[in-house]
Every structure is written in structure tokens, then in C-alpha cells.
């Protein structure tokens, strides 16, 4: 197809012919085209079907506010729905498809909805689909969602990648029209660090769309020259294709840069988009204005555009929506469209202006209003009612509509600022409290002339920089159009029974607003929810004011009294991929590797995520087909001889200072002041409210030096808590903290042969015999001929056990050495599953037991909370409900006649109903004990200590299962602790 509607001139590169397809049909355009301008040049006006009634629609705008020309662009997994053709940059090979139409755009079956529009008014689904009630979720809602709607996702993984980044500047200028360019120039010349961001791929804003001269040259040329000067400053960053979509706290802005959306996908490592977080000391919003349509009968046909958009297509892209055009305007700006299009050779059939003072031109001016239009798939004629009552039909293909301009105030409202109504231009302008550091200039501030925009930009920059102590001088302004601007409201034309569209995107009409009013939805926020006016991708940029103006009229209030709905980020749609950045799939979060990770990989270990850590869960051996086989073998090997487990992940906090012991006395419930050097002690840490927070050990390496260990999961929170206590609660104490978790590779060496194994690697000058190095001892030693190490005689498994630590760089080597030296003892590496089995058998609490609900008494550790000193949580853990004798107790449970005892089961007295009021506790941790040959568990149960031997029911009321279990001591293994001390 030829570009039949292409005019002369424009800012396109005619030497570059770009081919593309729309709904399978091939077309061509030029570099510099948007998809919409290219389609219009090919005579294509029909670009989509509306949301609800499937009305045929074409673009009404030439910018990001577009509600109609939404398409699916791209192929395969890259297809992106709801892309606005008016901002999609054309590239060779682009493929676009219409959406919300079947079987085709021209013959859309659901166009039938339009016939039944009387039944599909605002809120129709709330009224219609009420019975039977169960049908709503199962049938009605899915059916409605399928029929109504926008484009469809590919349902495939996004093949593109997205970067994110951070930028800093003195002044962020949002929008590169005349005010933005002048502001950036003013600030740049003053030496300020400037970011100038614009959503368009060509900076200049309306200067590219207008024929006004600036200082004797065209607006576009002036913009080009200004940009060239700006580019010469290394303190200026020009960001095209970058939408500043949100104004956040403290002068932080969110922006998306479309890095390669305008390029044919090549599959290289370039990101598709970059999400920038911009830290601006000051910002100047130069976002321009959006032209408003007028509500008249059938005002939504393809070929009816904003008058300014029609002009932009002609001047910037050398395209017209039709060769015979008329304009309907209530302000002088609309007449420029007629002038500019006529200059390009387009026939201006008439300009329709209801005002008595309408300017005259080289074309017919009718004082009147448009009252109807015709043309099913594209505009064919408009019906005009003259001031004198005469009706006339004009045969046209294009209609430009101008009801005046609305300043783009959205970003000024993101921190809950409310715009103010300005009567002289009948529009909202920025008002109230703006986001910190923000000022507004140009059309966005209600300065609707070119001169006003230039002056506002320069003055805005000077004032913004002055607040930063940077002295700037406004440059001499180029001579520019400075016509006085007055806008009188014309929200809709009363005549005509056909629907008068206010919100094109959501198919909301003047009548729908009246219906909402009639049914009591009077507040603008209710109006929005009831009619969906102002929702979806255009966020009411075109419709908001029209809707609330009609509502104001109905309620008899002023528009100022009626107010607007809240503007929220994002200003235009942002791809979820851009927000996710690189944090997707296996890179969703960083992972931490243990010192033995590579060794464990070589052993074929199965890994489990524990917080950020990857830990070996078990080490399958040849012939083992089920994880239980591996875990049972590992646990038994520890009890029988010796096993080794990487416990580096446990948090390690170095605590030093003259008051280190007093500090530990404060954070632990039990006493630490008298712990001897060379000794380790188990510690229970409580929250301020008396609930158990974490447990671990503290080893005293010197009078003023401890190493505290935490559970893996709580390493961060405990360190944070300790720092809070140090800095905020007891800054008087001399204590210094630093994490050393990563510094030391630490292994548990457990089992009856643990000492024999260690004696083979510990340097002989260190005596680790039971007498010289008894249970709970700690020492700084050397191993393997002089490598520095720390040895702790502590046990999680209940066996004779040690933890040995070496500088992490020797960690992998240490496990190799332990395996080699332990060969004669059949040393067995064990993972977190066996570790869990061993500690459950021993009755040691872990994360499952420290779940934020349990006190020291519940854990059976009430007596550990020292009464001889103050410690965090000590007072509140003695509260009656937390410390009562007949309260919850941590107990052991053995399955009776069952091969499972599921953790999470709730406990009930035998024969009792399984109801919340009869619930007596729950199982926290469970495993199969290879040592005992049956499933066992730990759990909390009321009056547990007095119920040993009792049989209870462990039930899962959700799934309706239950098993019997006997209450036993939580210490299934060696309750006297003889093995530890052996």
C-alpha cells in the first residue's frame, strides 16, 4: 500500500523506508514515524476496538495520552499488549496486531455489544449478574473478562532483560518542550548538574508540532540548536525515550528509559529498558498540556482527533488523517490546525466555532457546533448545527476537535498535592503542596503561550537553582508567539441522542455520568469506580476533567468544589519487567555459598536454600534411591562413629570491649558475667516482650572478647538487635561488635570418634583430651602444621562433638582433610536433614520452636532466666500467661502405629473434637528417627510436663487426617548428657 496520506515536509527521513505489518497487511513508513503516523500515512484510520462496546476506533492523539490506538507489538514471547501506536517508534520489520477484536478489526463479532449498549451501562455487571450468586466467580466474571479487555499476554517467559540504575543531579527537568529546553539551558549555563528527560524520541515537545517561529527560525530548528548546546556540557544528561513516571519521597523520581524498544530485537545483551531512580535536589516539571475533546454525538469515530494532534501529524510527520478536514474548536488554538493543514495542501472544509469572536481565515468559518457524525469504520461526514439553527452535513474524512488544553499536573499530585482550578483557562493547574523541591513551568503550570513557556522555564530554573545557592541568569528569550490565551469551557454539546463519549478508553459517556449521579455516586472517587472513568492505561488524561465537569453541572457545584480524583504513579504504564530488573529467575535474590560448597557439589550433594544460603541437605550415595535412605545413614553414622557438617552459616558476632561481659548479660536471659575464659555457654535471647528471640552460644576467648553464635536464620536480625542495644540502649558500655560469619569456615565434628579424628589434625602442642579440653571448652589453636583455628566443644547432636573453625580460605581444604583423616572411622559428611534429625532426637530447639510465640517457660527454660540480674525480656517473660505452670511446654512425641507424625499437626486430647477451643498445642518439628526406628516430633502442649506417657491425637483438621502420639521427654537420646561429656 502506498503512503497516500503523506504530505510534504515533516521531520521524517524519507531516505529510510521502513517496512512493517499491521494485522498481517504490509505497509511502509519512514524513520522518524510512529506506528500511528505510519498507519495514517497509509490511509489506515481504524486501529482498534473499544473496551466494552467494541466500537471501531482510531487514534485521537499523537502522544502518550492515547486511549484508543492500543496494539500488540512484537512477535512470539516479545509481544507486548496495550502498546500505544502513537508513541511506538517505527522500525523495519515491526509487526503489530489489533486487539480486542475477533475475527478481525473490521468485522468484530463483539461489536454486537454496541447494539445492546442500553443494557451495558455503567455498573451493569453489578446489577445484572447477581444471581445465582455462585456464578459470579465461576462463570460471569471470567466471561466478562474475556469479552471486555485489552490485549493478551504471550504467556511465555519474557526473553528480554532490564537494567536499573541510579542518577543524581541538581536539577531534573521533566519534559523537553520550550519550557524544559529553556530551563535546562539556563541551568546548564550556570554550571548546574542537569538531567533533561523526555518521553519522546525527539526532544522539543510542541516545538516539533507547531509552525511558530522562535527568534526567526522554526521551533524545531531552535530546539535542535538548543539541544546541540546542551549536549556540549558534560554536566548535562539528555535522556530521550525516558518517561519520568513517578515523584516519590525526598526528591526521588522513577523513570523508565526505553533503550531498545525502537529497534528490531537482535537478541544481544542490551537491555530492553532501564529503570532509573533519579535523586534530584530540585525538579522542574515541564510536562506540557493535553488537549481536551468535546463530548458530542458519535465523537469517537476513526478520523476524529484532537485538533493539536491533527496539526502535529501534519507538521512533524507530514501526515493527514484525511484529505478533506474540518475543525471543531472553542478557542483560537483550533484555528491553527486549519491554517497549518491548509498550508500543507489539505482541504479545509470548514472551521466550526461556537464563539461570536471566532477569527476568520481563508476558509469557511461556521458559528455553531458539531451535533453528529457518520461513518462506521471511519469518519465520512459531520453534522453541524449553526448558530442560526440551520443544520448542515459536511463530507469530511478528518475532524480536529479542541476544547482547550489541560496542564499535565499528574506528577505534582503524587505526594497527595491537589491541583487548583483556574477560571481564566477553565483548567486545573498545580496547586497545594508539591513534592519536595518541585516547581512547575510552561503549559504544565498553565502558561499556554510559547513565550510564556520559555519565560517560565528560564525563571523556574533560576529560582530552583537559587534555592541551592547556585546563581543563574535567565538567557535572553527568543522572540516567540505570545497570543493571550483564554479558554471557555465547552464540555459537551447538548443536542443529539447518540452517545457522547467522555472516556474513550473505558467507553464512558455523558449519559453514564448522569446515571452515576442518579444512582447516588456523586463523589468523583465514586464516579470513577462506578463508571471506570479515568482508569486503565491513559489514567484519565483525556477524560478526567470532562467527567467531573458533567458531574459538577449535575450537582450544581463548581468544578473546583467537585475536585479531581487522586493521581498516582505511574504516569504512563511501566512494564513489570522493568520493575523487576535483573532480579528474576535464579537471580531473584543473591545466594551465599558455604566454604564446602564446591566440595559438596563434587560429592553430588542435594542443596537446599536456607535464607540466602545454599546448604547441603544430604549426600546421596550410590544405590540410595530415596532421600530417607541417605539421611538415616548419615544420622546413624554420627551416633555410631563420626560425621562432619558445614555449620558456617550460623551467625558469628565478634563482641569486644571492657564491658563485653556486661553487654552479654544484658542481651541474654542467663548469666554470662562469670563465664571463664576458655569456656562456652548456651545462651537464650529474649525479645523485649519476653518472647524467645534466638538461641546460640557465646565463647569467651579473652576477658574482653567473646564470639557469639546465632541461628542461621536469625544472624541478621540478632546482629541488628545487638547493635540497637549497643548504640541506643546502652551507649555507656564499652563494647564493639562486628560480624565475622563469613570470616571463618566452621564444621561440626560429631560422634563418639570425633576427638580421635580431630587429634589427627590438631597440632600436637594443643591437648584436646577430655581432661584438658572438657565439654563447653573453647580455644584458639592451630591445625595441620600451623593454620590458625578455633575449637569449641559444643554439641547440637547430643554426641561428643566439636565445632572447628579456620579462616574461610582454608575451609574447603579442611573438609578434604577431615574426610581423609577420618577414613579409618568411616567419617560421614552429613547435611541439614540429618542435622535436624539429630537435634530433634536430642530435643534441641531451633527456628521451628522459636517462632515468635513462645516464652522461656514454654521452652522449658524458665529457670534459665536469671533473677540475679536484669536482662532484656526478663521481666515480661514472667507475665502470668507466658510463665504459668500449666501452660505450653516443649515435649517429645512418638508416633503410635503410624509411619508419619506430620509437623504442624495440632494436638487434641484423645476423643476430643478437633476445634479451636479444644486445641492443646501443635507439633513444631518432626522426623523419622533412625535411632529409635519410629517417627518422632517436638511440639508444644498444654501442661506438657505433667502428661508424660499420655496418648494424644495429632490432627490435621484441614485435610481431615489424624494419628495417635505418646507424650515423652523431648530428650529422646541420652537425657543425662553423658555422651557430650565423654
Amino acid at each position: 500500500m502506498t503512503q497516500s496520506n503523506r504530505l510534504n515536509g515533516g521531520q521524517i527521513d524519507r531516505a529510510q523506508l521502513l517496512r512493517f505489518t499491521f494485522d498481517g497487511q504490509s505497509y511502509s513508513g519512514h524513520a522518524g514515524d510512529t506506528l500511528a503516523s505510519a498507519l495514517l500515512s497509509n490511509g489506515v484510520r481504524l486501529m482498534g476496538r473499544s473496551f466494552k462496546y467494541h466500537r471501531p476506533r482510531g487514534p485521537i492523539s499523537a502522544g502518550s495520552e492515547e486511549p484508543n490506538a492500543l496494539m500488540m507489538i512484537g512477535d512470539g514471547a516479545r509481544v507486548e499488549p496495550n502498546t500505544r501506536a502513537t508513541v511506538a517508534e517505527l522500525y523495519d520489520g515491526l509487526t503489530a496486531k489489533s486487539q480486542n477484536a475477533w475475527p478481525s478489526l473490521k468485522l468484530d463479532a463483539l461489536g454486537i455489544n454496541d447494539v445492546f449498549s442500553n443494557f451495558l451501562t455503567a455498573g451493569f455487571y453489578y446489577k445484572t449478574f447477581m444471581w445465582p450468586r455462585a456464578f459470579w466467580e465461576k462463570f460471569y466474571e471470567p466471561a466478562i473478562r474475556k469479552a471486555a479487555g485489552l490485549g493478551r499476554l504471550s504467556m511465555q517467559e519474557d526473553p528480554d532483560c532490564y537494567d536499573k540504575g541510579f542518577l543524581h543531579c541538581d536539577l531534573l527537568v521533566i519534559g523537553a518542550g520550550p519550557s524544559g529546553l529553556m530551563a535546562a539551558l539556563t541551568a546548564a549555563r550556570a554550571g548546574a548538574r542537569v538531567i533533561l528527560a523526555d518521553e519522546d524520541f525527539r526532544m522539543g515537545g510542541r516545538l516539533n508540532a507547531e509552525t511558530h517561529e522562535l527568534g526567526g527560525q522554526s521551533g524545531a530548528d531552535w530546539a535542535t540548536a538548543t539541544l546541540a548546546e546542551l549536549a556540549s556540557f558534560d554536566t548535562v544528561r539528555l535522556m530521550t525515550r525516558t518517561t519520568v513516571f513517578g515523584a516519590y519521597d525526598h526528591g526521588v523520581f522513577g523513570a523508565v528509559e526505553r533503550v531498545s524498544d525502537h529497534l528490531r530485537p537482535t537478541g544481544d545483551t542490551r537491555p530492553r529498558q532501564t529503570l532509573w531512580r533519579i535523586y534530584a535536589r530540585r525538579s522542574l516539571l515541564c510536562a506540557g498540556a493535553t488537549e481536551r475533546m468535546v463530548g458530542f454525538a458519535n465523537n469517537d469515530r476513526p478520523g476524529i482527533l484532537q485538533a493539536g494532534a491533527l496539526r502535529a501529524y501534519a507538521n512533524r510527520w507530514a501526515v493527514t488523517a484525511g484529505l478533506r478536514v474540518t475543525v471543531f474548536t472553542n478557542n483560537d488554538d483550533g484555528h491553527r490546525t486549519a491554517r497549518d493543514l491548509a498550508a500543507k495542501g489539505v482541504e479545509i472544509v470548514a472551521v466550526i466555532d461556537p464563539r461570536a469572536e471566532a477569527p476568520q481565515g481563508d476558509w469557511r468559518v461556521i458559528r455553531g457546533q458539531v451535533v453528529d457524525t457518520k461513518g462506521r469504520l471511519g469518519l465520512k461526514s459531520v453534522t453541524v448545527r449553526g448558530h442560526d439553527g440551520r443544520q448542515e452535513v459536511l463530507q469530511v474524512e478528518g475532524l480536529g476537535v479542541s476544547g482547550g488544553w489541560n496542564p499535565n499536573v499528574s506528577l505534582t499530585c503524587h505526594q497527595r498535592g491537589r491541583p487548583e482550578w483556574r477560571e481564566d483557562i477553565a483548567a486545573f493547574v498545580p496547586g497545594g503542596t508539591l513534592p519536595v523541591g518541585m516547581a512547575v513551568a510552561g503549559a504544565a503550570a498553565g502558561d499556554l503561550s510559547t513565550h510564556g513557556a520559555l519565560r517560565g522555564g528560564a525563571e523556574g530554573a533560576v529560582a530552583s537553582l537559587e534555592a541551592l545557592g547556585i546563581s543563574a541568569k535567565a538567557p535572553e528569550l527568543p522572540e516567540a508567539e505570545d497570543a493571550p490565551v483564554q479558554q471557555t469551557p465547552l464540555w459537551y454539546v447538548g443536542e443529539g441522542k447518540a452517545r457522547k463519549w467522555i472516556d474513550f478508553q473505558n467507553d464512558v459517556t455523558v449519559k453514564d455520568v448522569k446515571l452515576a449521579h442518579q444512582e447516588g455516586f456523586v463523589s468523583v472517587e465514586h464516579l470513577k469506580r462506578y463508571t471506570t472513568l479515568g482508569m486503565a492505561t491513559d489514567q484519565g488524561k483525556n477524560s478526567n476533567l470532562g467527567g467531573l465537569a458533567v458531574m459538577a453541572e449535575l450537582t450544581g457545584q463548581t468544578i473546583a468544589q467537585t475536585g479531581t480524583t487522586m493521581f498516582r504513579p505511574p504516569y504512563t504504564p511501566v512494564a513489570m519487567g522493568a520493575l523487576a530488573g535483573r532480579s528474576v529467575g535464579k537471580d531473584f535474590k543473591p545466594t551465599r555459598l558455604t566454604p564446602s560448597h564446591h566440595w559438596a557439589e563434587k560429592q553430588g550433594a542435594v542443596f537446599v536454600e536456607v535464607g540466602q544460603w545454599m546448604r547441603a541437605q544430604w549426600f546421596p550415595q550410590l544405590g540410595e534411591t530415596h532421600w530417607r535412605q541417605s539421611v538415616d545413614r548419615e544420622a546413624l553414622a554420627v551416633r555410631k562413629s563420626v560425621g562432619v557438617c558445614d555449620v558456617t552459616t550460623l551467625g558469628k558476632v565478634d563482641v569486644q570491649g571492657r564491658d563485653a561481659a556486661e553487654f552479654l548479660n544484658l542481651i541474654y536471659a542467663n548469666g554470662f558475667a562469670k563465664l571463664a575464659v576458655g569456656k562456652t555457654r548456651y545462651g537464650l535471647m529474649l525479645r523485649e516482650d519476653g518472647i524467645a528471640m534466638d538461641d546460640g552460644t557465646a565463647a569467651r576467648l579473652a576477658e574482653d572478647h567473646f564470639v557469639v553464635t546465632t541461628t542461621t536464620a536469625n544472624a541478621g536480625p540478632v546482629y541488628r538487635h545487638m547493635e540497637f542495644v549497643r548504640q541506643c540502649l546502652r551507649p555507656d558500655l564499652d563494647v564493639q561488635l562486628i560480624s565475622t560469619t563469613d570470616s571463618w569456615a566452621q564444621y561440626a565434628v560429631a560422634g563418639p570418634n570425633a576427638r580421635k579424628l580431630l587429634q589427627k589434625i590438631v597440632d600436637p602442642e594443643f591437648d584436646i583430651s577430655n581432661e584438658a579440653f572438657p565439654f563447653m571448652g573453647c580455644a584458639e589453636i592451630t591445625v595441620c602444621g600451623g593454620t590458625r583455628a578455633r575449637l569449641f566443644r559444643i554439641s547440637f547432636s547430643g554426641e561428643l562433638a566439636y565445632e572447628i573453625a579456620v579462616p574461610t580460605r582454608y575451609g574447603e581444604s579442611l573438609i578434604e582433610v577431615l574426610m581423609a583423616a577420618g577414613e579409618e572411622f568411616d567419617v560421614t559428611p552429613y547435611g541439614t536433614e540429618a542435622l535436624g534429625v539429630l537435634r530433634i532426637e536430642k530435643g534441641h530447639a531451633a527456628g521451628n520452636e522459636l517462632n515468635g510465640q513462645t516464652s522461656a517457660a514454654h521452652l522449658g527454660m524458665a529457670r534459665m532466666v536469671s533473677t540475679k540480674k536484669d536482662s532484656i525480656g526478663a521481666v515480661l517473660t514472667r507475665r502470668e500467661e507466658l510463665s504459668r505452670e500449666d501452660g505450653l511446654r516443649l515435649m517429645g512425641f512418638e508416633a503410635i502405629d503410624s509411619d508419619t507424625l506430620p509437623a504442624g499437626s495440632h494436638l487434641f486430647a484423645e476423643g476430643a473434637a478437633h476445634r479451636p477451643e479444644t486445641d492443646q498445642g501443635w507439633l513444631t518439628s518432626a522426623c523419622y528417627s533412625p535411632h529409635l526406628g519410629k517417627p518422632i516430633a517436638l511440639g508444644y502442649i498444654k501442661q506438657g510436663g505433667e502428661r508424660i506417657g499420655e496418648v494424644v491425637t495429632a490432627a490435621n483438621p484441614v485435610e481431615g487426617t489424624s494419628v495417635k502420639a505418646r507424650i515423652v521427654s523431648p530428650h529422646f537420646i541420652d537425657p543425662e548428657g553423658a555422651r557430650l561429656r565423654d
Partner: protein
Amino acid sequence: MTEYRLFPRTAFGAESAHSVSIAGVTLTERPDVALASVAARTGEAEIAGTMAELCGGPCGVGQYKEGAPFSTFWSGPDQWFVLADHAAHETLAAELQARLGDRASVTEQNDGWVVFDLTGNALTPMLERLCNIDLARFEAGQAQRCVIEHISSFVLCRDPGLSYRLMCGRSFARSFAHAVETIMASVAAQAAA
């Protein structure tokens, strides 16, 4: 005498340093750097003077001071990290403790962190995609704690735009390097376009 010996490995489980170059930018692991943290004990803030003597000059808030044999950077009020050659100063913490006595708490950090050098032409586009630092004001001899791809890190500036030292927890080494190298490739591809 035990017959066994331990051998060091890098944070990547290798025998030699991890190093990746893409389009003139190089990220190199520095396992040869020894580290220790120093915190003044209560009332001993004047150890800043001893630290200055040790490290060839004062190291104030947000500063990084390179010297021989010790370099240092500020890590908090009256707190510093000290860097040295690992081969010569594996027991750096003990050396510093001997110099500072009981006026400071010194902790070995040799293997708590992995140190990388990032060098190349025009590194700003890379770093602005990695960390929230105002790079135009980040000069040689400055240090900044920040988050890189959800990982707590230190960034030390040696030569703006050309040479930086990056540090993160040793266990994060693989994820950290992957994040940096991904951005190296991304920036290179964007520059080539």
C-alpha cells in the same frame, strides 16, 4: 606432628584469582588482600592519630587512604577497615592489636570479605547501574557503603571513572561477580550500539 596440610582457595573455590574482562573493563578478585577491622574503645577516639601514623595519613569520614604497607578506609564513627598484603600480613589483626593495645577492638576480616578491583575506561555507566552513589562527586580516596544487587558492599574510589575497589561478604562472591559481569556485558553492548 600432623601429616595434613591446608591449602587456601579463593572465594570462588579456585586456586587462582577470578578475573573477567569485557570490552576493556576488568573485574579481578584480590585474594592477596588481608583485612582487619578496628574500632576505638570508649574514650579512645584519639587512636585516629595512631591510625593516621600507621596508614600514612588521617582517614576521616567517608575516606579511603591508600598507603604502604597499610591502606585504610572509614567504616563508621571511630571505626576503620585496614588492608594489607596477605602474604606479608596474614596476621594483620594481631599486628594492629599489638600497635593499638587495649585502646581498640581489632577483628580479623581477611576472609570475611572478597575484594575486587574494577578497572577500565569510563566505568561510570557501569557503576551507576550497580549502586546508588553520586559518582560525579565520588572522588579518589573516598569510600562508600552501599547495596549492589541486594548485597551489602563497600565501594572504594581509586581513580574516578577508571579504577575502583569493590568489597562484599565472601559468601556472596559468585552472585556479586555475576551481577557485576552482567552489567559489564550490558554496558558494553549499549556502548557498541
